[in-house]
Symmetry: C2
Subunit: 188 residues, 2 copies
DNA sequence: GTGTTGTCACCTAGGTGATAAAAT
DNA sequence: ATTTTATCACCTAGGTGACAACAC
């Protein structure tokens, strides 16, 4: 995942559906990033894979992303997929804009917390392994670059089309969808 | 104010500051448009003014604009000016997008309501005379058109500049501000 | 004649990876 | 040698009034 000083969105977007909430109780949804191991990674071009290369940076002041709809009744959250597309990542430890701070070349696991606003607050935290990533300031793997260019609408300018837009639209019908990672959670 | 089928923002933007709210009580802010008289208007080019010309259209199904921050604690609303820039007006009576429906060539008075979410709900409605307007599908008065072009950033393409942007920036320092109508209310 | 609609060029605002320069 | 930064062209997304065509 690309990380910049001014903050970069995640792509694909973190997204989830949830069932089992109480229709009229208030909930908040919070995302944070857990550094999965205290290791620095480097990409081996020969082996085409990431390799852990020893002790990483110290843990960073942890920031969280509060979903802008929070707090909202269960009814609202269950209307459809909950999208975290406004999350921005930065490697600037002095960031003042509230973005989530990460160390480049480190591996992260997004965590989602559901906060239930009752007389007693209840917090439940969970994560989906399919959403782990390594933060970078420049892509290390050409196939990741291609995937992002193909799937992110904002990178359309880098697509080199032997097919025009209309034809591409038809072709896309046969490709797996990949503009968000959609996970599901059953609240209980 | 221009009105279209698909919905048009208001310009200048409705905006207000409020004091006197309880810091931790929840409030919602609601805007609606009151048809000030059941009259249709036409613009007299000779007299350079609007003239009432008899009975207007029947009252329309009233729609309201709920400020997207609602509900929020008093503390939030008093942090700074509350902007209603997302309001959109339409003349399409079949509108399905939740925009506020108005009749063209009729005069309207925006109303703001503060809803206090307590054990007992309290609603207080008020309006600022400086924000009345007549809805149109095309500008009738050339001086209004000029004002909008001068002040609305999105209309920059229609400014015919004998001065470049940097020079204009300096000149603007001497002009009265007119990109929003900012009113104040003391809650009690 | 009068008012409305759809389309357009021209903007604001901001999200992409490429690239060269800089930092480490 | 490796990683980071700043800038850029090229997009998405959507807000302007002008204007010609249209409806009544």
């Amino acid at each position: 995942m690309i990380v910049t000083k001014s903050g970069r969105r995640m792509f694909p977007t973190l997204q989830m559906t949830v069932t089992g909430l109480q229709l009229h109780s208030l909930y908040s949804f919070i995302v944070d990033l857990k550094c999965v191991d205290q290791k620095r990674y480097r990409y081996s071009f020969h082996q085409s894979k990431w390799i852990a290369t020893g002790p990483g940076e110290p843990e960073l002041p942890s920031r969280v992303f509060l979903h802008p709809d929070s707090p909202a009744p269960g009814r609202h959250w269950m209307k459809g997929p909950i999208s975290f597309d406004k999350i921005k990542l930065t490697n600037n430890q002095m960031d003042t804009r509230g973005h989530i701070i990460v160390n480049s070349m480190h591996k992260y696991q997004p965590q989602i917390s559901i906060l239930k606003h009752n007389s007693v607050e209840k917090r439940e935290t969970f994560s989906f392994p399919e959403t782990t990533f390594i933060a970078v300031t420049a892509y290390q793997n050409h196939r990741i670059t291609s995937l992002k260019i193909e799937r992110n609408p904002f990178a359309k300018g880098f697509r080199e089309g032997d097919v025009d837009d209309e034809m591409r639209g038809h072709l896309n019908l046969f490709k797996p969808f990949f503009s968000s990672i959609s996970s599901h959670f059953q609240y209980s």
